[in-house]
Structure formats: C-alpha cells, structure tokens
Symmetry: C2
Subunit: 248 residues, 2 copies
C-alpha cells in the first residue's frame, strides 16, 4: 500500500503514484510503518560504469586497461533481488569475502516515452530513490553474466521512498559502513548524464511507467560481512539502510 | 484476456492461467482472435550459448576462440521488446543489414521456487512457448551490453501460446525464412538442460510465477530484412510467425 510522506507523516493512499490515487483518510507516523520496496520495476535498468574513479577501480579489479565508456550503454538487473529499507542483505554460504556495496541514484520513470531529445528527457521522470548494487566480485570475475554477482536474492536494496522534488546538481551520495563514511561523491557528477542516458535509450526502446534506471556508483567500495550495517545517503532524498547477515 | 486453446477452439477465460481462472462461457475460433503476448514476464531470463554449433558460429563472429560454457550462467532480456505472433519486427533505420533471427524454446515458470535439485527442477514449470531472439550483430559487437542488439522495441517476438503438455526429447525446432527451412535442430539437445539451468539458478535466486527462461538457439542464423517473414516452429507447441518491416 502506498503513502504520501511529508516530514514524518505518512498519508495512506489508495491506488498508485504512477496512476491515480486518493487518500484513505488514515495517517501514520513514519516510525510506525513497515517500509516496502517503493516500486517493483517493469524493466530494471542499471548503468555499469558512469563515474570516473569507479571506472578506474573496476578496470584494476578486472585486470583490464581503464577505459571510460565512449557512449551510454545500459544494462539490466532482476527484481527477484530487490529488498526494502531495513531488510537484511543475506550473504550466501558459498560467497567469497568480496561482497561489496555500491551506492547509486535510482531514476523512476513516470511516463511512457520514446525518442526523447536530451532537452525533453527528464520530462518522463517521476522521481528518484536510492539503490545499493550489492556485488559479489569473485562471481563477477568468473561468470559469463552478472546473474549471481549482482542478482542473488537480497542483493538489490532499494528505497526508502521516492522523492519527486530534487536538486540534482546539489546532491551528494555518502556511503556509511557501521556509521563510518566510506565514500562521498557528487551524485550528478556522471560520465553520461541522466538526460543523456534516457535520450539514448529512448531512441531504440520505449520507457514505461515504473521502469527504473540505476545510475552507477563512484569510488572504490569495501567488503561487507555478517553483522555490518550499510547506509546509502543521498542528500535531498534520504537514507537507505540495510543490515548484512550470513545465510542460515 | 486469456483463453484455453484446444484444437482450433478457444474457450474465453476470466483470470490468469498462473493463478485462478474460470470460463466466461464464450467460445471463439482460433482464426478469429487476435493473439497477444502470452505472458509479460516478471523477470525475463535468457540463456546465451546453449547449443554446440551456435557456440562455434558466435565465437567466429566475435573473432574469439570457441568455448563451450563450463557452467550454466543465465542472462536477461527486457519486456519492452516483446511482440506477439503476427506482429511486425521493426528494423530501425540506422540498423545494419546484420539483423538475424534466433529460434528458441521458452520455459514459463508456474510456481515460486528456490533451491530445487535437478530432479525436482521441472516441477516449477507451467509450460512452454516459442521465442525469436532477434539480434542486431553490429551493435552486439560494439556496445558494452546487449541493450540495443537484443532489446530494441519489437526484437522479442514470443508466442503464439503456452503449451502445457510437451515431450521435450521428441521436439524439433525449425526456422523458416519466407517459407524456406533455414535450420532444424533437436530442441532439447542443449549444452545444459532446462533442469540443470533451473536448479543452478534457484540456488541463488527465487523463481516466480510468470518468469520466463529463453533457452538459446542452434545453428548459424541468416539476415532478415523488410518484407521477410520469419517462422519458428517447435513441434508439439506450434509456430511463431512475424513479418519484418523497415521503420517508417
């Protein structure tokens, strides 16, 4: 069930923010509700290499020459892996120690769109949320695809909510591990902008309400393990927090 | 709206075959109904290299050494690209001549499943349909991901319907271009079986009702162009037929 959040107050809504909705009249304190995944995307797009220092560290990890992408090529993730704010990231028993967070801005599409110019591109955006693109690096290096490395159940925390009013150029992404800030970067300091990606994608494919695009991460992530807590803050949106637990 | 097909007769149904359904009482001739995409998958899985001769031709095309995969790593496609039986595959104006069909068996998941053994794996399958994994090879060679090459709008014909009773070992896949059989292979002669894939995937991820897994193709595909008609027949299921048209 959806709610409209203002400050600490949630107005309960019937319907969906991407279609029509109306208040039920019930109102809740934010601290008293269980937050769910804000949207289960129709198509789950994800940008792989979109910040300069992450391009370099990824290349070093994969033992390749560092190459900043020369055009916006988007990838995919899978909805089975989504979990909400406060739900645990479960580390499989056979995973290596190299499980890492990646703090990302998530674009939520609100309108059907095809062949948008860069100038028009942001007109199809409903709002923004936060994603943690949890990745097992040994599988990323050995598998032919990203299926296990990126899409094992619980590896895609997303939330806590969708913010419709943001100042993209003023936003900062801060990743905290057990309360310590590990990386901080200007959220909009991307190799290819959100508008450039949406415009390029929409020349070939139709974007639909409910599609999401994860915009990539910056910096060199650290490993996470059982008992840790990861927080991804994006200023102007909020903080996505998830504990880490070993599979039972 | 769903229907139950027996012979040439469609019984109209309320509900969904993956949940509950009941007959409306209306009955149609197959030739009088417009066939839609049989299911819009929650997650759209696709196996890349799963037949021996296709592995070799793909390697030659990508100028790499031919390597049969040593384990079942699954990939993804996107729902924006789905079209139904008889709907046109639209060739973008800036595409190269190297647009090709790939005839594939599609597995439709019917039950939520996690950690199935190979012996149990087929118990979560609802049925089977047919897919045409249309691919633009110049984009496949130059883009970092398969987004345009495989997921441009209309590049994923799927259908015509879901068959729940099949004899996997007796099935043949035949691809016809303008009526001429171009390739014929034993559908189940895969590098890794359907059961092996489902079992491997389900060790890490939860399969959900409505997920689909495209199982890959065999042989060396040919180019398709404006005015062509591609038919993928899988014996025991039916024939998926789509015309090809240049973008207007």
């Amino acid at each position: 069930m959806y709610g409209l959040l203002e400050g600490e107050i949630v107005q309960e809504m019937l319907g969906s923010p991407l279609e029509t909705y109306e208040p039920t009249g019930r109102v809740w304190r934010l601290s008293s509700v269980k937050i769910e995944v804000p949207i289960v995307p129709r198509t789950f797009y994800a940008v792989g290499l979109n910040y300069v220092s992450h391009v370099k560290s990824s290349a070093a990890f994969m033992r390749r020459q560092s190459e900043t992408p020369d055009k916006p090529d988007v990838g995919y993730r899978a909805v089975n892996a989504l979990i909400a704010h406060d739900e645990p990231i479960i580390v499989p028993k056979d995973a290596s120690e190299e499980i890492q967070y990646e703090g990302e801005l998530v674009v939520v599409i609100g309108k059907k769109a095809k062949r948008l110019s860069e100038g028009e591109a942001l007109s199809c955006v409903f709002g923004y949320t936060i994603g943690n693109d949890v990745s097992e690096r040994s599988w990323q290096a050995t598998d032919r695809t990203l299926w296990r490395s990126k899409n094992t159940d619980t590896f895609k925390p997303m939330g806590p909510w969708i913010e419709t009013e943001v100042d993209l150029n003023g936003m900062q992404t801060i990743v905290r591990l057990n309360g310590t800030a590990m990386v901080r970067f200007k959220t909009n300091d991307m190799v290819f902008s959100i508008a450039r990606y949406i415009s390029a994608m929409s020349q070939y494919l139709t974007l639909h309400p409910g599609d999401v695009i994860w915009m990539g991460t910056d910096g060199i992530p650290a490993n996470i393990k059982h008992g840790d807590t990861v927080e991804i803050e994006i200023t102007g949106i909020g903080t996505l927090r998830n504990p880490v637990a070993l599979e039972k």
